[in-house]
């Protein structure tokens, strides 16, 4: 092998071999080359040594700048690099995504003082565990001797799980406590240990089942839920052992050895390899450095970990504490999957289209179901003047609906623009709504929309809906047109009025809505009527409409 092409062929076979993807034929070819050609063997060994040099113990490249007369530069300007550059131009930028919590969820951020890193600007860390991590397992992992090869846990659910080594697992697969390292490349799995502790693991992750009451996490994210009978359940990472004392907590172990612990319920004991230990309680998060084993306080992240999965419903819950009803009006599931799909017409036969010419539109108060939106039960034009108004598909009636003109100008929608093209805007207390971070549901007088709480509960096993909150009012942009019109706002639950705010106009303060919800409540209805029998310019809406959630 004395040409560059031969080297590339060997290099390619090496890459495939590293991933265990050589075919029999390719393997035989490689073996033959290495046996027959001393240069090929030499090349193979040099390559493997170079790859292994991306190794544990934090190899730190120097920060020397490149000079024009750099003798290495000619290597880097060979034709090969031009070929690579050509490929690079067509390749998308490689981004290693950084996980950032949404801004509104950060209440108070207290960052630990910036530690001067002892290493220069980047590490090359090989996949092999660093020496300190290995020694942790060797020296400090005081495992109670347990019989190996015993079934101690069950895979109880998974979503889009993909494992290395072509491992096939399904619901009900029993897992043994042995030396095997599970490498979850994609998706999510939920395991239940025989001690009744459960863990949700998010890929990419590598872990071992150590015993019925412990798991070793080399890297990845794990959310543990430990009932009282399983207290003492432990998670081992390369630099820590976390002992549960009856709680819910999340652990993230990074490939470089850093470990984060976030405690959501109860308390845990955080043990380090240097035999220090710290009790970490609810609402607290800690980070242990993989290099120094120093412990630092970090902000608790309530949405970093996947806490619940349900493959039948396709449900993945990351701890979000509320459902966005504006997202549901946009066709989503309340967790950000919706889009602005247009308006729901409370009076017409077509669900999402209104005549381009705009209102006023006249209709009766017939309740119209929304089959297309999974969590919107239906819409209607409230007009109590013709009698009680049906407000759900199950026949709930609003007995005290006030008399209105039965006229509406816009449908029910989310986002800044109505289908008719109206962009009158939605502003309360000087803040725009219908923009990212400030969702809203436009409910121009006279319109009503009902949400199916039962359907929402079905998609979120393990969670309950405890409250509806919103800010309701008439947009300040009305001032450009008039100052006199007023609207009435009503929130009903199964037809029963639970909130009202009457004669709210552009000069009024918006009203905070807070309605407690019970497990037995089926339908939530939001209504806006023309408070003064003048529906024109009733640019009314519910800002940041949310259903507050709680774990069961």
């Amino acid at each position: 092998m004395n040409d560059n092409n031969g080297q590339i062929v060997i290099a390619e076979l090496i890459q495939k071999g590293l991933d265990g993807l050589l075919t029999d034929k390719e393997f035989s070819s490689l073996q033959k080359s290495l046996n027959d050609d001393p240069e090929a063997l030499n090349y193979y060994v040099r390559t493997m040594l170079a790859i292994s040099a991306f190794s544990a113990n934090s190899i730190v490249p120097s920060c020397e700048s490149v000079t024009e007369n750099d003798p290495l530069s000619d290597i880097l300007s060979k034709e090969t690099w031009e070929t690579l550059a050509e490929y690079e131009e067509s390749a998308p930028a490689i981004e290693i995504p950084e996980e950032k919590p949404p801004k509104e969820l950060i209440q108070k951020v207290v960052y630990p003082p910036q530690e001067k890193s002892k290493i220069s600007k980047f590490k090359i860390i090989f996949l092999a565990m660093n020496a300190a991590a290995v020694l942790f397992f060797v020296l400090f992992l005081k495992l109670v001797p347990v019989q190996s090869g015993v079934e101690v846990a069950t895979l109880i659910d998974s979503i889009n799980a993909k494992w290395a080594d072509n491992v096939m697992m399904h619901k009900g697969t029993r897992l043994l406590n042995d030396e095997y390292s599970y490498l979850l490349q994609e998706g999510y799995v939920k395991l239940e240990f025989d001690s009744h502790a459960t863990v949700v693991i998010e890929a990419p992750a590598e872990f071992r089942i150590l015993a019925e009451d412990r798991i070793g996490l080399r890297y990845g994210k794990v959310f543990s839920s430990v009932p009282p009978e399983a207290a003492g359940f432990s998670v081992y990472t390369p630099v820590t052992k976390i002992v549960d004392l009856g709680t819910e907590f999340g652990i993230q172990a990074d490939i470089d050895g850093d470990t984060q612990l976030h405690v959501f319920q109860g308390k845990t004991l955080l043990l380090m390899g240097n035999e220090d230990n710290v009790e970490v309680t609810k609402g607290i998060a800690k980070k242990v450095s993989g290099d120094s084993e120093k412990v630092a306080d970090i902000p608790l992240s309530t949405t970093r970990f996947v806490q619940k999965i349900d493959s039948e419903r396709g449900f993945i819950w990351k701890g979000k504490k509320s459902i966005d009803l504006a997202d549901i009006v946009g066709g989503g599931n309340g967790f950000g999957t919706g889009q602005e799909v247009g308006e729901i017409d409370p009076g017409g036969d077509e669900r999402y289209w209104l005549p381009k010419s705009g209102g006023p539109f006249y209709t009766d108060n017939t309740y119209r179901s929304c089959a297309e939106l999974p969590f919107v039960d239906g819409v209607f034009v409230p007009d109590g003047g013709v009698g009680p108004v049906q407000i759900s598909s199950q026949g709930h009636m609003w007995q005290d609906c006030p008399d209105t003109t039965g006229v509406y100008f816009e449908g029910i929608y989310t986002g800044e623009k109505s289908r008719t093209g109206s962009r009158h805007g939605f502003v309360l207390q000087g803040q725009r709504y219908g923009v990212p971070g400030r969702p809203h549901i436009a409910t121009h007088g006279n319109t009503g929309v009902t949400f199916d709480l039962g359907a929402l509960r079905n998609q979120m096993p393990g969670l309950k809906i405890i409250q509806f909150t919103a800010l309701c009012g008439v947009s300040q942009t009305v001032r450009n047109r008039t100052s006199g019109n007023v609207s009435d706002f009503y929130v009903l639950v199964d037809g029963e009025k639970r909130f009202e705010a009457k004669r709210i106009g552009v000069l009024s303060e918006p009203r905070q809505v807070s309605v407690e919800l019970r497990e037995t409540d089926s339908f939530l209805t939001l209504v806006c009527t023309d408070g003064d029998l003048k529906p024109h310019v009733d640019w009314s809406f519910y800002g940041n409409p949310r259903l507050v959630l709680e774990s069961r």
């Binding site: 290099a11 495939k16 073996q31 060994v45 170079a50 292994s52 750099d70 290495l72 290597i75 090359i124």
Partner: protein
Amino acid sequence: MENSPKDLPDKSDLERVFFELFMNCQKGVFAYILSSVHHYADANDLFQETATVLWQKFDEFDQGTNFQAWAISIARNMVRSYFNRHKRSRLQFDDNLVKKIEDQTVSKLRNHDSRVESLKKCFEKLSDSNRQLMKLRYEQGMTVKLIASRLGKPLHGMYKYMARLQNSLLECIEKAMALSK
């Protein structure tokens, strides 16, 4: 030679000594294992197992002798045991080739520090995107298949690309090592 109880180092001293010796040679031990086993994930596991055994047998090590050589002799047995365990599930080089690889690896480990230094220099000269690629491959341990999937590139092309990148990096390392002599 028997030690009296007074002569025996206490546990924390022993750990410290082991740690120092292991830190100095762990790169070489891993290099040896990877060259022999050629399967990335298996090499990692085997490396960890070897470290465990090294500690368990540390009292058999003759202080003052070459720790790396002793560690590699342990690793050799671990590799053979691995081959026996995975006879059916892993493609394995024949014994003759394994011996040749082992001899060459041990020989080249003598200047492994120089190789590591040269790698640092050459790595820095990569473009940002190629450095990121190497990080995904070797720092985060992604398979080429996963990288290709993330980038939306065909797998075959991605292997070729990685091979060329690795080859060019190797050339740079070899030249840097030559210049440093």
